[in-house]
């Protein structure tokens, strides 16, 4: 026989009440938080005010043109016929060409700096890339205008002639080098150089954060350095690559002075990007604002509003992609 233990009924306990947990901030805490919050709100306020200012300024143009403002390609404010369709198309085209040159180069440069460069070279390369990002765009503009363009003409001609079976690659006078100047292709290449350092910087930063443990795990399995990069660094840095590309695209779309210096403005859809003549929103605003007034100026503000919204969306998307990833949690772009 075993002894039976009777359950002891515990005395009923009061239902737990939730406590409010409070931390009483000190005076200096409060001053600091207020100051920081004010600074943060100020940036939002400035952004909001810019958007509002553009919207109000653009209203006369938007009223007079309606949806036509987005679909019209001509820019004839005197004839009350103007829109940003061609400008927007040119902007995107230049952005795409910029990415075509900037993506492979920035990816390669970022991988080299973070994975291959000897330690002695690494630091100077990082500084150099950061310096490249700090060079004013106008310097790139004159360099592109007087040096890069001249050297790219033969490249453009070669590509155009050899890929002439693609209808959009052709130009009207293939034999004359001047047919290839001031084109969307040339402007895109130059803008690509401008956005290159920013993209390299973001990608390198993310690559360098790939965990040592995983890197060593791959190497200990007998991976080559490239094998390790493919198995660890690139998957880890994927969001950084995408974020860097989108950040570069955002900058490329807004690039003004380089495009302004290079292109010969045209108000038609650029169907032959290797042929002279294209346009872009930012360059158009820069070239026209001093001579515009009334509804024409409102039109420029409207174009600015579209560009503002466009880049805002792209940069926000880039930020979301990067911060949602494992690699981007601690990366700022």
């Amino acid at each position: 026989m075993s002894t039976v233990t009777l359950p002891v009924t515990p005395a009923p306990r009061p239902t737990p009440q939730r406590r409010t947990i409070t931390v009483r901030p000190t005076r200096s805490d409060r001053v600091f938080v207020l100051g920081a919050r004010a600074a943060a709100l100020l940036t939002l306020l400035v952004m909001g005010l810019i958007g509002t200012f553009l919207l109000i300024g653009a209203l006369p143009a938007l009223r007079s043109q309606g949806w036509g403002f987005l679909t019209e390609h001509e820019w004839l404010p005197e004839a009350d016929k103007f829109g940003i369709a061609a400008l927007l198309w040119g902007t995107i085209l230049i952005g795409v060409f910029a990415l075509i040159v900037a993506i492979p180069v920035s990816l390669g440069a970022a991988l080299f700096i973070s994975e291959y460069a000897p330690r002695s070279l690494k630091k100077s390369l990082i500084t150099l890339v950061d310096l490249m990002a700090a060079v004013p765009a106008v310097i790139y503009a004159i360099w592109a205008l007087f040096f890069l363009q001249a050297h790219l003409l033969t490249v453009a001609q070669w590509l155009s002639v050899h890929l002439s079976w693609l209808p959009f690659m052709t130009v009207k006078v293939p034999d004359s080098p001047s047919s290839y100047t001031s084109s969307a292709f040339i402007a895109g290449m130059a803008v690509g150089v401008v956005v290159l350092p920013t993209m390299t910087s973001v990608m390198r930063e993310v690559f360098s954060q790939a965990p040592v443990g995983e890197r060593e795990g791959a190497i200990a399995l007998g991976a080559t350095r490239w094998g390790m990069i493919r198995a660890v660094v690139l998957p880890f840095g994927r969001a950084g690559i995408i974020g860097g590309i989108m950040l570069g695209l955002g900058r490329a779309l807004g690039e003004t002075i380089v495009v302004y210096a290079l292109i010969s403005p045209m108000f038609d859809f650029t169907t032959h990007p290797f042929e002279s003549g294209t346009n872009a929103i930012a360059a158009h605003i820069a070239s026209r604002y001093s001579e515009s007034s009334g509804v024409a100026l409102a039109g420029l503000l409207g174009a600015g509003l579209v560009l503002f919204g466009f880049t805002l969306v792209i940069n926000t998307l880039a930020g979301i992609i990067v911060s949602r990833s494992r690699s981007g949690a601690s990366t700022e772009i």
């Binding site: 060593e216 791959a218 200990a220 399995l221 007998g222 991976a223 080559t224 094998g227 390790m228």
Partner: protein, 280 residues
């Protein structure tokens, strides 16, 4: 293989991984190591017998991990690292200039203190990662599945993950991740498996599973394990080497031999003090 070491919870027997040759022994001859100007190891000779488990014990900072990393050429990845001496795998120096480091690392696998599965890869792909990374194809159709199963069984993880081979490696618990890393290392059929404090971040149950795994694979693979846990060294190892770095001097081996001798009949007083927990 020691049959009594097979986990009683395993419903099936550990399947031997087929290989062309038996495990190879590893011999360190007059190994010294430096980080910059700082010497961390001095004149270490150690024979790690084929198919046996050798434990490296000693207080922190005595160069055990450095020594372990020298055994598969991971040491040289640290900037400023240098070494002297030879490491012979089946009689051939792995530091021979004619040999590529990746060849040595393919034959001498490593499990780290912190489990490091590839987090974005599935459990299945993690096991096969070594083959892919070294450009080798898994055995033809169905062979890959078999290899994954064999490796996971050898690591004592199969029963826990067989229903979720497609989930990411990072979704497993810490102990499971460590055994996944062991499976990953075994899948490339190494001759030697180096383990750097593989249980230091694990709970007792996971530790027991890893220890069972080590006993189960010994015989198939030569195991060298760094551990701070004296009981663990006694439980898993056949032979044992006690490292010590007296103040300001580089680490060296004070005593080595059969584990039972080192723990029960130490020749050196310092060994006796250390294995009985009187210092370190």
């Amino acid at each position: 293989m020691t049959l009594d070491a097979i986990s009683p919870t395993d419903s099936t027997q550990v399947l031997p991984v087929s290989r062309e040759r038996g495990p190879a022994g590893l011999v360190a001859e007059a190994v010294s190591a430096w980080f910059g100007d700082h010497q961390v190891l001095s004149d270490v000779d150690l024979r790690m017998e084929a198919g046996h488990v050798t434990a490296l014990i000693g207080p922190s900072g005595c160069g055990k991990s450095t020594f372990l990393r020298i055994l598969n050429r991971m040491h040289e990845l640290v900037p400023g690292a240098a070494l002297a001496g030879q490491v012979l795998l089946d009689g051939e120096d792995i530091y021979d200039p004619a040999r590529r480091p990746i060849e040595s690392r393919r034959r001498i696998g490593m499990v780290f203190q912190k489990a490091n599965p590839f987090p974005t890869m599935s459990v299945y792909d993690n096991v096969l990662a070594g083959l892919k990374l070294t450009g080798r194809k898994a055995p033809a159709k169905g062979g890959a599945d078999d290899l994954v199963e064999h490796s996971l069984r050898s690591a004592g993880l199969w029963d826990e993950v067989k229903a979720r081979l497609g989930t990411p490696g990072s979704s497993l618990s810490g102990g499971q991740q460590q055994r996944l890393c062991i499976a990953r290392a075994l899948a490339v059929r190494p001759d030697v498996l180096l383990m750097d404090e593989p249980c230091s971040a694990l709970d007792p149950t996971s530790t027991r599973r890893v220890e069972e795994t080590i006993r189960a694979i010994a015989g198939e693979v030569t195991v060298v394990i760094v551990t701070h846990n004296m009981q663990q060294a006694q439980r898993v190892s056949d032979r044992c080497a006690f490292f010590l770095a007296a103040e300001g001097t580089p680490g060296h081996i004070v005593e080595q031999g059969l584990t039972t001798d080192v723990f029960e009949r130490p020749r050196d007083e310092r060994t006796a003090d250390y294995v009985n927990g009187r210092f370190g």
